[in-house]
């Protein structure tokens, strides 16, 4: 579709009278600062430039003037139409708000054969009737899921270990599939499992019902088995065997793996990444441990300071870039999400980096007992007897009542980084998110204090690091990062870029 624009002369300023558009700045080092506008477009400039811009010392004969105007940092009397473009860009960035709630997590059972140090739930000897989701709760939860305005729903079945409650999974899948078809909604289904109970029969069932599998892989055997103990000490062997069989039956792209970084992992970034390469994965998410549930109680075994994680992350990212330079395509997921926010017009579907926070709006968790929580982390807190983010119950509340509950209103008040102290004038605000649940868990306050926030420290450090790589990294590194941001392989990126 062709778009009509006025001739170029209409956009040239006759003099240097300009006004400011909203932007924020951040000192990168002693020489450089970064300016970021409302939509996340950025320029890196010599220190002092923000002040010169704000005090109207940039003249129209300078190249910088045109750059600032083109990237929506300033406007003059000829900029009127460009403001509509800026509004459109803003809308694009926030497209994730449209059609809530997309992700629906069902905790079908709390029973599990593993006793992972960082997990909040371990009911190895629990009785089935006590800790499995009942048919009544499952029916009410599916009905509530289908009321979500989103036309594309993802149903994630997790536990505990959900494969221990296969009869309940089959019931939920059957009513969810027919309900979604009736409501005209698309439905993706994922089972999150440790794969220890993955029989051929279950695999056939997954294949016939287009169900994807997601599992945990914390690294090589010595790390995985230490992090994820089970009777027999063979968690790693079972996970690897399950991944291979699942790929054979379901297809290579129907099985994903996630890792959690424990204190033991911190010393082994290369070994963990090598394990993912050995298992032919092409992405890895270097995830810090969540400060919830047993992870907090067993801090002496698994916990660490954010500084230590960030060292691990940087070493891991360096190694992943090296692998890519050597010809093996592998992405680091968190880096890719941030790069897409920094380098492309799009926002993100990743709820932890959304503002308004994705909690509730983009994810809901239905616990085995019918309790509805804003996020999985909220449910973890509930396991530690903190019910702050329990929005209601599928048995007694409507969707409207969940979203007007005092718990959700309190959460929403701290859900926009645009209005949070420390965030409201942070240059990285468009790249970051708000996480009221993290701050409640770690600081006892949903709004939180940025100066001591692990969330803020992690994102500030990672974003600064990525900006530095984009500015100062080798051509290879820059190409790799651009390839991740634009969802292409390095070869595809290079083939599409004129040399």
């Amino acid at each position: 579709m062709a778009r009509a624009f006025l001739p170029a002369t209409n956009f040239k300023a006759a003099h240097s009278s300009y006004q400011l558009l909203p932007f924020r700045f951040h000192r990168l080092d002693t020489e450089t600062e970064i300016l970021v506008n409302e939509c996340g477009e950025f320029v890196t400039v010599p220190r002092g430039t923000a002040e010169r811009i704000a005090h109207k010392h940039i003249t129209s004969d300078q190249d910088l003037y045109n750059t600032l105007k083109a990237k929506h940092f300033i406007f003059d009397e000829y900029s009127s139409p460009l403001l509509d473009v800026l509004a459109t860009k803003y809308r694009t960035k926030f497209d994730f708000i449209r059609g809530s709630t997309k992700l629906h997590i069902f905790v079908v059972t709390l029973r599990c054969d593993h006793s992972c140090h960082y997990c909040q739930v371990s009911r190895q000897t629990a009785n089935k009737d006590e800790y499995d989701m009942s048919e009544e709760v499952a029916t009410a939860a599916v009905a509530m899921m289908l009321q979500a305005p989103s036309e594309h729903l993802t149903l994630e079945l997790q536990g505990g270990e959900p494969l221990l409650a296969m009869d309940r999974i089959k019931y939920i899948v059957s009513i969810a599939r027919s309900g979604a078809a009736h409501a005209g909604k698309e439905l993706d289904i994922v089972i999150t499992s440790n794969l220890a109970y993955l029989s051929e029969e279950i695999l056939e069932y997954c294949k016939n019902n287009q169900i994807k599998l997601s599992t945990s892989l914390d690294g090589p055997e010595f790390i995985h088995n230490r992090n994820r103990p089970r009777p027999g000490g063979d968690s790693h062997k079972l996970a690897i065997d399950g991944i291979r069989r699942a790929r054979r039956v379901l297809g290579e792209d129907r099985v994903a793996a996630l890792m959690t970084t424990t204190q033991l992992s911190l010393e082994h970034p290369k070994e963990i990444i090598d394990e993912y390469v050995r298992q032919s994965f092409h992405s890895i998410f270097l995830r810090p441990i969540s400060p919830y549930g047993f992870a907090v109680k067993s801090n002496h075994r698994t916990g660490y300071e954010m500084d230590a994680f960030l060292q691990f992350y940087k070493a891991g990212l360096d190694y992943i870039l090296e692998l890519n330079r050597g010809g093996y395509n592998m992405t680091e997921v968190y880096t890719k999400i941030l790069l897409q926010k920094i380098l492309t017009p799009d926002g993100t579907g990743y709820v932890d980096l959304q503002s308004p926070a994705g909690a509730g709006l983009n994810v809901l968790v239905y616990n085995y007992d019918g309790g509805v929580y804003a996020t999985d982390e909220s449910r973890m807190l509930a396991e530690m007897r903190d019910e702050t983010f329990r929005l209601g119950s599928v048995s007694t509340h409507s969707r409207a009542q969940l979203f007007t509950s005092p718990a959700f209103i309190r959460l929403l008040e701290a859900a926009c980084n645009q209005s949070l102290p420390g965030c409201s004038d942070c240059a990285f605000q468009p790249y970051c998110g708000a996480d009221p649940i993290y701050h409640h868990a770690t600081q006892g306050d949903m709004i939180g204090r940025r100066a001591t926030s692990g969330f803020c420290q992690r994102n500030m450090t990672v974003i600064e690091h990525l900006i530095s790589l984009l500015r100062n990294g080798s051509n290879d590194v820059q190409d790799i990062l651009w390839a991740w941001a634009t969802d292409r392989s390095l070869n595809e990126l290079r083939a599409s870029t004129p040399q």
Partner: protein, 147 residues
Amino acid sequence: MSPEFDRVEFDDEHTAATIYVDKAIYSTSAVLRASYWFSKDLYFHLEEEKQQLRVNVGLRSPKATLEQPLPKKIDDWLPGIFNALVDAQLRVEIQAETAGIRELIIAKAFAEAGVLEDSPPGTFEDPVGVRNTNAPPLVKISNKPPG
């Protein structure tokens, strides 16, 4: 040291200081915003006087500890605080100048949600209105500074 900070008083141990900030240069909002980021290591107390703000600042942990065997003196923090004040004041000024246009951009961005009383003019095919000579301008901009 910058002239606007020539009045800094220290306690005997240099674990606390009082900074006198000229209100004609720095707003209370800027001082609060700058102080916020140091709250991990320092405590702040502000008192407003007629022409200046009195900023009392002290070390949270002035004593040596195993984690911090050589605690910094308050003097070591001052350059960082002064730079943060300059940045914070600049941010306040940029936000004040751009608040109106920011609201307009956001309102236009979400116009479909009914935020605006009147739909913004223009269409995707003709966003500037060049094909419709009778169309009103999309946004009226004045070169007059706000307020």
